[in-house]
């Protein structure tokens, strides 16, 4: 009774339910279940951390990363920094099923998706735009820059390398995580 089973990170109940329906009620494969479950989250923009309209970058753009892996064949497909296509996990499935590659990135991943019949559309929404605008108005805090000037903990860019910081300090492994249950990979 422990198999079949679906598990996912975070309390994304609808994603788990659609994966379970796929693998249990429809008797489809684990691969189908994973694609369906992740697609559900992309459509529902789970927590703002999945799919379009969330996690804008410093330029305000939303890009998507996804991966799907078949544990029986060790075949996989993935896309990273996918631009202007909403269905990231399904594009990853196409990489798995229609190429011998593992990972396609950026605009060229978008070109692949379009050639496979996916639709090109903006991934930004009013919500992601406002989030980005608020971040800019808050002096671009927090951000991921270190050892640059102007001081990235106080100011927006553009940044240049701060040559006054010694190499020893630059290699300091201390790490300040700005991730949380609402901001994560």
């Amino acid at each position: 009774e422990k198999v079949p089973v679906v598990i996912n990170t975070w309390p994304f109940i609808n994603a788990t339910q659609s994966a379970w329906n796929t693998v249990y009620l429809k008797k489809k494969s684990a691969l189908d279940a994973v694609e369906k479950g992740c697609s559900t989250c992309e459509d529902e923009q789970c927590d703002g951390t999945v799919g379009f309209g969330g996690s804008p970058d410093e330029s305000g753009e939303t890009t998507l990363d996804a991966m799907i892996m078949d544990g029986m064949t060790m075949n996989m497909g993935a896309v990273a920094a996918l631009r202007r296509v909403k269905n990231a996990i399904s594009v990853a499935r196409y990489v798995l099923e229609h190429t011998q590659h593992s990972l396609l990135v950026g605009d060229l991943a978008t070109q692949f998706a379009l050639s496979m019949g996916f639709k090109e559309e903006p991934l930004e929404t009013n919500i992601s735009h406002n989030m980005w605008q608020n971040w800019k108005e808050n002096d671009c805090q927090p951000n991921f820059w270190v050892n640059v000037k102007p001081d990235p903990t106080k100011s927006c860019g553009p940044y240049t390398p701060d040559t006054n910081i010694t190499r020893r300090h630059k290699n300091d492994p201390k790490h300040r995580s700005i991730f949380s249950d609402k901001n994560h990979d």
Binding site: V3, V5, N8, T9, A33, C38, V50, T62, L64, D185
Partner: protein
């Protein structure tokens, strides 16, 4: 991010992830999610795992791969996840992240660090419905 792992009625195992990444990342930045062994990993002879959290750190330790390999050595899913998380914390004490781990017989577990607790969703015939479970962090 969602990281998902599944076993179907034929015993086939799969894993996947989907994310829009970190808020206000430097353009071009990619996290752990699309990297096999980091965001997720599946090996039909052992099981699968999926991780979530600080992808810039996780991709340096391949926690999903490590958890599966620990299970290959006989470790339980829960402890395999804990070992994968502890490996990261050794170097990054402020690390924020979590992992779900699934063995091929359907046994599962989870571990986390840097959160108050970690919630994940699971469904099998025994549970009968989608259930949100919570683990305390190491």
């Amino acid at each position: 991010t969602i990281g998902m792992i599944a076993i179907d009625t034929a015993g086939r195992i799969a894993a996947g992830t989907s994310t829009n990444g970190a808020k206000f990342k430097i353009p071009g930045r990619v996290g752990d999610s699309p990297i096999p062994g980091a965001g997720a990993y599946a090996d039909g002879s052992v099981g699968a795992a999926a991780a979530t959290g600080d992808g810039d750190v996780m991709m340096r330790f391949l926690p999903s791969y490590l958890a599966v390999e620990e299970m290959r050595r006989g470790t339980s899913p829960s402890y395999a996840g804990e070992l994968a998380i502890r490996r990261i914390v050794t170097y990054y004490p402020d690390f924020v992240g979590a992992i779900v781990v699934l063995r091929k017989d359907g046994e599962y577990g989870a571990a986390c660090h840097g959160l108050q607790s970690f919630q994940f969703s699971v469904c099998n015939s025994q549970l009968g419905q989608v259930t949100v479970q919570t683990v305390s962090c190491v």
